[in-house]
Subunit: 199 residues, 2 copies
């Protein structure tokens, strides 16, 4: 069902591959491209090709990087803690806090039978190898608080139990600055359940 002229239809379809982009947004993007100077549009096309060519995965932690190893893995001052995350986006978010000085391990997703993702598609073997070889003191499992993120966290906990390493999970609770009134029940339950004594 090609509603538009062919080159536009093709561009709309391509933009539709981006996460959360439906046909309407894709059309909006495609028409915005047509309004750009040819030069500016080429810059976007080049940046896509260039990023694909130059950005690789860190051989140790699977985070994105330009060389063989990422900046975190080559930093000798990092503490022997591994924060296990779903994707590179999570690494960026945690790095932005500037309060975590450990290392990372990027799984590359979560276990999701619905989407055909099993443990073998994730960098779990590599994580276990690191725990074996790197003298890690603690593993912080920081997968997202979704059903699949939780299941993956539980799966990893079970796998990591035999190792002599502390395993922790990020705290759940009310986001700072949020109003209790708008917190969903599960979050509120977790916030009460995980309450901390004030000294």
């Amino acid at each position: 069902m090609s509603e538009y002229i062919l080159p536009l239809e093709r561009l709309v379809e391509q933009f539709g591959k981006l996460p959360g982009v439906g046909r309407k947004t894709a059309t909006r993007y495609a028409l915005a491209i047509l309004d750009l100077d040819s030069e500016k549009a080429e810059e976007l096309a080049d940046a896509i090709i260039d990023a694909k060519r130059r950005i690789k995965r860190c051989r140790i932690c699977n985070n994105i990087c330009e060389g063989d190893l990422c900046d975190v893995c080559t930093d000798e001052n990092r503490e022997p803690i591994i924060c296990v995350v779903e994707d590179a986006r999570a690494v960026m978010s945690i790095e932005r806090v500037r309060d975590y000085h450990g290392k990372y391990h990027v799984l590359g997703g979560v276990i999701s039978p619905v989407n055909g993702v099993g443990p073998e598609q994730l960098k779990i073997k590599e994580l276990l190898a690191r725990v074996n070889n790197e003298e890690i003191k603690e593993i912080i499992i920081a997968t997202n608080p979704t059903i699949e993120g939780e299941a993956t966290a539980m799966y990893l906990t079970r796998l990591l139990k035999p190792f002599d390493v502390k395993i922790s999970r990020l705290a759940y609770g009310i986001p700072v600055g949020a109003d209790l009134e708008y917190a969903d029940e599960v979050t509120l339950f977790r916030a009460i359940d995980g309450r901390r004594e004030l000294n």
Copy 2:
């Protein structure tokens, strides 16, 4: 402030050019590109270049097209009515209704002193030339119901007055399926003001 490795930063900046895309969404798109196969990413890049090269503007109505003239302008069965719109997106929306059989004229924006857009940047001269030469019976001004769209509509009405042509504007009112309770006051006022007698 390059927070990311260079090729990623560059791609994030490029995606940030798309309408309504902030840094967070741009990062999400950029990382999605990294997760694609190289081939798929190239398809997007190619589609951008290809669309820019192949899509042109209709010599008569300024709508997007592949050749010299658009499908509407070459269609001899179109009625001698011109629907004046801001952009090609509006043409697509109206064509989708399949109930309008006239022609179009794409202004290429609206008059907006804040954004430095004056009447001379829009295809207004070309519209007047068409009214002069094409024996048009009616002009429907279909700019968006925003302040700038309204101002442009008023400006065009004034310019078109001297011609022997009926000038109309799309009706304002409650959107079909909407609840009165959620209609803003201006819309409600316009809906009352433009009420139609039932026979």
